[in-house]
Symmetry: C2
Subunit: 480 residues, 2 copies
């Protein structure tokens, strides 16, 4: 796609958003007036003001980088969003569609007719088309594919054949390739003939006649070495490379670790088939962090903040339903001890303390573990040690804070034995929280699930039911 | 520092970690045997085996990229970690220290004497020194500063004068600068004389005699344009640039949005004083995501998974203490209604359902909002709309799931009025959860705090106390 140099600006993005909203609002007021007062003369005046506003808004938008327009679209409620979208120049539609999040993209595409979509997609690279294709109407995709040449079509198909979290779905095809038996001078002349280099070109890919990757020539080396040298003498012959079915998050970690800007993707035969660039990897890193956070809270997926109520409900229901069942179980645990509570109603007031602090402490542990697992820092060998540490921490917390709350219980209800039961129950529930905080995410991973998935809901379920059972059980044994 | 090309490898990092652990373990067994059997002959044999093991381990480590060694050090418990650290070549110490996390770095530095630290730090760039300085012994820093020339010393001081979350603390000083009135040919010759270009050099900085930034010359343009052209005709004259006191997270967002690899940092007078690179920005993005997650769970900071128990306790106590107070308040709310519970013990069993589902739903809302705020998607203008949406969602959830649980309560306890109270209480508590899920993070931000800070603890506190009060209050009003 066309490149657009980011320009310096003293305004923050929030300022720009405010300006656009202001212009939109001004225009609304004018429309409102027009509807109310239908005199022909006024009509004309309003029309002029209105047109002037639209022009100003359009000029503002034209000045913005596509990524900034995308940001503004994300931050606006649906109706305002579509109004702005109509004002964006057709030739920028494609760029902007590629920048917005999936959920916002859906709302924008729903607002375009086939003709507009085709126009926006026509200038896209195969990897960009593949990004967009799943959300486009079927016949539009079909029509688009027919405008491509055989190689392009093959590339779109190939990119579509990989999972979203595989390298193959993220790679692009803008590799500059050279041969190893030419001089740097020849390479420099070749580049000059290209007129433009793809974004993120920090290295050229050295391939043989079969397209097998022989090495990479970092631009840095091309620039500092004697032009008479041969590529083969200057290139790095054993670069970090990826396969299209590698996990994209591992690739992103490698980019982070080795400070890469671009890297080759090769097939099983070592043939160069694409490249990965740091911009895509940054997205992967950001999304991984977000999805951990969302998953822990039991949200299925990213949710556009202005998503419809129905969409939000669907996103949140699965885990709320699970929570309903776990809350019901906790309630039945208490039901088992209704006799004890009738005899000593203080138990009802004290039991949520045991459950609540267990839940909080368990959430701290599970957050730590989920994070360490995402960073690959936990191995089977370290599990035992980790469990030991968490158990020790919770034992200390149980004795200290449990002791405090035990004293408080004594002061409130004047019973030493109630205080001791309280301390013991707190300690045991914290031990349970620590153990499950380690076991739940590790168990999820063992069964091939995302360790963050609903882990907050699950740990709370365990510490609630467990906490009630431990506290009321101990009370029934020792106080009744 | 010396550059180290990342090499292709079929082994995953986890594999490498396993190999190192295996070698360490083998050596331990040998030492163990040596301690038990003290015969002179055996001693000799063991010594040989031991030495062979160490050599193998050392060779393994020498083959690894510094970032990979850092990863292995992070993933090992303290005692193993220090054993490996002793085996790392002295000249690589500096590189590796810069790669590990703060908490692990502290354990490594504690294990080094001043002489070793000086040796490790001697080859560092000013920005790297500034990164390390806060954790080094004072006299070592002093000695290091004396080995620097005036410009270097000034740079270290300047980097140290900024907050960790400011651009000034993250910038480096490896800018390649050129003048605007020379030809590209001259630039190419100049680069060739440099022998090596700094990492992440995707653009050269064009400055005037006073050092004021006039523009940037992307390497891409240098390569494709006619060498006879002047820099001024080819450069981008209005590039994205940053100030040293800009927030680093905003800078990282700009890097992400505009797909930058490096960018100039200028002072108030427009003079070039440093540059930012994408590798530092990737760290900022990752850390932002992590700190949100940790903060929500009420963890103060990053915690090395093998941190000492004492360290872990300190990290977790502040929010546990807050939780203790909030749990106590919830308990007192129940205490207000002990009379009602004595009359109808079913209330004790049902009340945690109301509180628990409110807490879960509130956590979903707050997670969404915190995330959207981190992405700058929430403006004062959208707050009302957002609140309306969340309230509608929770109203639907309350009526549907509250209805289900009301029916269950009826089936369990045979009282229609109890079921109705249950449904009403659930709905009201979910409305409270939705409102506070929006209000808490926005309020925190308004008072200049991190919106994620302990927000999970706070929302749970509100939905617990609120849930108990609503449910028991309604029950007392209508059922007693």
């Amino acid at each position: 796609m066309t490149e657009y140099e980011a320009k310096k600006s003293q305004e923050s993005l929030q300022d720009r958003l405010a300006q656009v909203t202001e212009l939109l609002h001004r225009q609304r007021v004018v429309e409102d007036l027009t509807h109310r007062q239908e005199g022909a003369h006024q009509e004309l005046v309003k029309d002029l003001v209105h047109r002037q506003n639209v022009v100003e808004l359009q000029r503002k938008l034209d000045d913005l980088h596509s990524a900034d327009v995308a940001y503004i679209l994300e931050a606006l409620p649906l109706e305002d969003r579509l109004e702005i979208w109509q004002l964006v120049k057709v030739e920028r539609d494609g760029d902007i569609l590629l920048e917005v999040s999936d959920s916002v993209r859906e709302t924008l595409i729903a607002d375009m007719d086939d003709h507009e979509i085709l126009a926006a997609a026509r200038e896209m690279d195969p990897d960009e088309l593949a990004d967009l294709a799943p959300e486009l109407p079927r016949d539009v995709v079909h029509e688009l594919m027919e405008t491509l040449d055989a190689q392009q079509r093959e590339r779109v198909r190939s990119a579509l054949s990989y999972d979203e979290d595989q390298v193959g779905a993220l790679m692009d095809f803008e590799m500059v390739t050279i041969r190893e038996d030419v001089s740097l001078e020849v390479v420099l002349r070749y580049l000059r003939r290209l007129k433009e280099l793809p974004g993120h070109t920090d290295k050229l890919f050295v391939v043989d006649q079969e397209g097998v990757l022989k090495g990479v020539l970092p631009i840095k080396r091309l620039l500092v070495n004697d032009p008479d040298k041969q590529v083969v003498d200057v290139m790095a012959s054993d670069p970090v490379s990826f396969h299209p079915d590698d996990e994209s998050y591992s690739a992103a970690q490698a980019f982070e670790r080795y400070d890469l800007i671009s890297a080759p993707v090769v097939d099983k035969g070592g043939r160069l088939i694409g490249r990965l660039t740091i911009d895509e990897m940054v997205d992967v890193i950001r999304e991984e962090g977000e999805s951990e956070m969302l998953n822990m809270a039991g949200l299925r997926e990213e949710e556009d903040i202005f998503a419809s109520v129905w969409r939000s409900l669907r996103n949140r229901w699965s885990w709320l339903a699970v929570n309903l069942v776990t809350a019901f179980i906790a309630s039945r645990v208490i039901g088992l001890f209704e006799g004890s509570i009738e005899k000593l109603v203080a138990l009802a007031a004290l039991m949520p303390i045991v459950a609540g602090i267990g839940g909080n402490s368990g959430n701290q542990t599970i957050t730590m573990i989920v994070r360490a697992m995402a960073l690959d820092q936990i191995t089977p060998a370290s599990t035992k040690r980790l469990l030991r540490k968490e158990v020790t921490v919770s034992l200390c917390n149980g004795i200290i804070w449990g002791g405090v709350i035990g004293v408080v219980a004594y002061l409130l209800y004047g019973s030493w034995s109630l205080g001791v039961v309280m301390t013991a129950a707190m300690t045991l529930n914290l031990l349970l929280a620590a153990t499950m905080g380690v076991v739940i995410p590790m168990g999820l991973e063992k069964f091939g699930r995302d360790p963050a998935m609903g882990s907050s809901v699950m740990i709370t379920a365990v510490t609630d039911s467990g906490g009630f059972f431990i506290f009321l059980g101990l009370a029934t044994l020792f106080l009744m």
